[in-house]
Symmetry: C2
Subunit: 143 residues, 2 copies
DNA sequence: CAGTATCCACTTAGATACTG
DNA sequence: CAGTATCTAAGTGGATACTG
């Protein structure tokens, strides 16, 4: 039906693009890393509670304390996805009550290192960005 | 009122944490970069339509064509936020009808380079991650 | 051409309460 | 201690129609 051709072509183009999007490596990492808590969990695990130390394993409750404000749901969800991706290990010690500790894998550590690069960029350019924002807002809002 | 103390302490801790979160540089870049279209726009502008060329300016409609499936709303919104952050420039040429072109700034180019690192990590480790996911799912789902 | 305006759908995160 | 279950709020992206 010729009447559908335009819409069909559009839909098809979009499907193809979504496929490309889904396959795009940078999109995948970005999606993984951009969850609200994932970088914070990885930071805690990768640099200690104060983000300035050595990588070390931490327990669930310790993470919950360090990441003040995280709900059990989000912490659990975040840790599970990181475990699924092979970025952290989950170790259960059969004490009573049970003890669970989480630790970055080598893979997780390497991603942490890469994300650190982004962080360094941010620290290096945050003033730049803020200045641009101010100028932009000054030009657009007051009108 | 003593009955509110626990809730108050919790709220305060959360406020403090949100402040930390807001101040955390890596969170800021992540938030900026993780919009669905921002890396795609930056890629198009930074590597040409096929992601393998040189940085060059592109027009609104050209971006809309290359990023098949993007709505005018999202493209406009994405470009505006990138412009606000000083990552792209918006140039209006007073032809008729009007012509607008967008181009990465040096700042935008440098962020593009940093994000490229993430992309390289992803390409290097995607099989690793997929393998972990498969093993994880195999262990958890079939139970 | 280069957007803006409006309305809707979906995903994501948080609060809260309960369990092995 | 280490979570799970449920419900709700909020933010984010999409479809569509219209404008300077």
């Amino acid at each position: 039906m010729a009447t559908m051709t335009a819409a069909e072509k559009k839909a098809e183009a979009k499907t193809q693009y979504n496929a490309f999007l889904a396959a795009c490596p940078s999109q995948q990492v970005l999606a993984r890393v951009s969850g609200k808590w994932v970088t914070l969990v990885m930071s805690a695990l990768g640099s200690g509670p104060d983000c300035t130390g050595e990588p070390r394993p931490m327990r669930y409750s310790e993470l919950a304390r360090v990441l003040a404000g995280v709900s059990p749901k989000m912490l659990s969800q975040t840790l599970k996805s990181l475990e699924r991706d092979g970025l952290v290990t989950r170790t259960v010690v059969a004490t009573v009550p049970v003890t669970v500790s989480y630790e970055l894998t080598d893979l997780g550590l390497s991603l942490h290192g890469t994300v650190r690069q982004l962080k360094l960029w941010s620290e290096a350019h945050r003033d730049d960005v803020a200045a641009h924002q101010d100028r932009f807002d000054a030009r657009t809002i007051p009108a």
